[in-house]
Amino acid sequence: MIRVENLTKAFGPKLAVNNVSFTVERGEVLGFLGPNGAGKSTTMRMVTGFIPPTSGKITVGGHDMLENPLPAKRLLGYLPENAPGYADMTVHGFLSFAAELRGLRGAARKRAIDRVVEHCLLENVLYQTIDTLSKGYKHRTCLAQSLIHDPDILIMDEPTDGLDPNQKHDVRNLIKRMGENKAIIFSTHILEEVEAVCSRVIIIDRGRIVANGTPKELKARSPEGRLEDVFRAITLPDTVKAH
């Protein structure tokens, strides 16, 4: 459903993403792993059509994201990093707005809102403005926005960042459940999370893919069978200078 070919993004002289290619099919949950600043967010922003790549090709559900972005964007749900939301809107107003931009009107819109409110447990704060929400609720509101049109493809940038252990657990379960009939990409730096929900892992370091496989395959690379050892062995801390 998602096909990324030779994707490169340069910010000035710096290559944030360097010749990255991968595919994600329906029923797959792809975990993006990598140190901070490795290029995970930049890659996701390109796949969702927010920023244009310097070179490369992105196809979403058969539609070219650069040539024909609107049909491609219709298939996507996106949860950006830090779960942004319009501070002065109520949760209901915000979801309504998202639904409208997704082409849902009238009864269909109402059904869609009811569904995501139930999924994301937002009943209690439905008429509160977003700036008064706790981090967990704010996060779930943005997640609800990404699910409002029941997309085939879901892209989530650090969906569990800043949540408490219960919330993390809920979000992981949700991802796992949805992964059965959607194509999902999510980024994280929590290794246990990857083992818990991903069917495949890509490790990115300094804009390049340094590993791509199932969690099991990756773990097998370490003598102790621990993902953390593999991660530490193939990625460099950001204090080390690249050559």
Partner: protein
């Protein structure tokens, strides 16, 4: 039409945003107080002894200089600060629809503020026999004047995530649009420069083009001027947003 539905959804959200925060009410009250003050006190509405709204419209370029950037400064800078720009532009919406939607919403809001000045028109009709065609032309001119400033504010707000910077830059550009054709300035300039050059510079000023409306003349060239300013500023907004996204 799909694109129109998207624009309307954005217009609705933006307008709602004005009214759920105190911005709308504060703005409306200040706008009405200031127009009243300038029209009746500074503009000597009564002492003029004529049934016209000259003392009302004369002040609009100066009033708008501060009030319109205050309305427009948040349009895109807020999106950038909150990170919602990433949400909005990954929706099945073109950048164009978003720009036009945001602009239209704020313009409608300014039109509403202008509608609330109707007591001035009622007063002048009650006291005398004004030419209501002139008053109508004045309102049309004022609306386009506000639209031009607003498009400039829209452009400056796309440049930065800081609303204060967006406000100041926008005031400066609008000030230039005024001063280039402000009579004291053009008089001064004619002393140093070729009058033809001064005339060309003045042609870029909102003052030159607003004047006709105040006299009751709906000149197509003046309308074209304001529409071009709006079009140009919104086009530039699109370019700025594209460059910002490209990094």
């Amino acid at each position: 039409m799909n694109s129109w539905a998207n624009i309307m959804a954005i217009v609705k959200r933006e307008l709602g945003g004005y009214f759920t925060s105190p911005i709308a009410y504060v703005f409306l009250v200040i706008f009405l107080l200031l127009t009243g003050f300038f029209t009746f006190t500074v503009g000597n509405f009564f002492e003029r002894g004529e049934a016209s709204l000259v003392s009302f419209f004369t002040w609009h370029p100066w009033l708008y200089l501060f009030l319109v950037p205050a309305v427009g400064m948040r349009l895109w800078s807020e999106e950038r600060r909150l990170g919602t720009m990433e949400l909005l532009l990954t929706m099945p919406v073109t950048t164009w629809q978003a720009i036009v939607g945001k602009f239209l919403a704020s313009w409608l809001f300014l039109a509403l503020a202008l509608v609330f000045t109707f007591p001035v028109a009622v007063t002048v009709n009650w006291l005398g026999n004004p030419d209501n065609g002139v008053i109508f032309a004045g309102y049309v001119g004022s609306l386009f004047l506000a639209g031009s400033y607003l498009a400039v504010s829209c452009m400056t707000s796309a440049m930065t995530r800081n609303q204060v910077i967006s406000f100041i830059v926008s005031v400066l550009i609008c000030l230039f649009l005024i001063l280039a054709g402000y009579t004291p300035v053009t008089d001064l300039l004619t002393r140093f420069a070729n009058p033809r050059v001064v005339e060309v510079v003045a042609a870029f000023s909102v003052m030159t083009h607003f004047e006709g409306f105040q006299r009751g003349v709906l000149d197509i060239r003046d309308l074209v001027f304001f529409v071009s300013v709006i079009g140009f500023a919104l086009f530039t907004t699109g370019v700025i947003i594209r460059n910002h996204r490209a990094g």
